[in-house]
Amino acid sequence: TIGMIAVDQGGHVAAGTSTNGLTHKVPGRVGDSPIVGAGAYADSQVGAAAATGDGDVMMRFLPSYLAVEQMRSGADPSAACKTAISRIKRHYADFFGAIICANTTGHYGAACNSVDGFSQFFYMISNSETDAPHLMSVDC
């Protein structure tokens, strides 16, 4: 799955997702990616977020919407991402998932939940400083 956020110099924000979902799913199953507020959410007054992982669990908590609302309340992107992950973790301690967050000033962050085989989450950024894709990571 890919979740992506773009912010331009005017603070215009868009977000998107694309996926083929979980392998061996029951036919008809849909994950969080196409669900607004779950797979991604964007509001040019604030910023955007995009989630990835086990969509069956994550879509129950609208983590992208929550992260954007956290940023609206003043949280920095990293803290907003962590809150969204923590909210899910309260109910599903061993869920597999991660989220990226960015605000309209160009600050960004990410968070993930540590499970077996997944202790660090990698994501990509490109901005006017890097002027090219740059690999980033966050410890879960």
Partner: protein
Amino acid sequence: QAALPLVINTWPFKIATDAAWRSLQSGGSVLDAVEKGCTQCEVSQCDGSVGYGGSPDERGETTLDAMIMNGDTMEVGAVADLRRVKNAIGVARAVMERTSHTLLVGESASVFAENMGFAAEDLTTNKSLNIFSEWLKGNCQPNYRKNVLPDPSKQCGPYQPQALVTDKQLRGHANVHSHD
């Protein structure tokens, strides 16, 4: 860390970031950037979890989900369980720009896509066929069914509801190779 414009995406999909970044640099909108970035991942089948030929379902079919959101207008276009069409994010944008709806699903979403000019193609590849056949050979494991007979943790279907419903909490099978 604060610098605009900005493109950020999940997972180390460099080609997607690059495509989105180039779109922005060439004067494209943020929507164009997101569409170009996600489309590049669909074409390149990023990590097997995006685009055609990955994550076959219980019947061996690959279906696609995608969504795009405009943070200025709060317009959204999304498709789910999309069949036979490779450019899912493109269809999602068409839902946003060519309907007043938000989400189209399944066979009807595919018909909409075809009517909007998207090509209908088989999303199956040798790789996805191989993943599917290995799953069948392995007694359909891992398996997302529960409270059905025969026991889905040991056998393939077809399945029937189990008379006695258990409270057994099953762990998900999502991981770095199979995710949303």
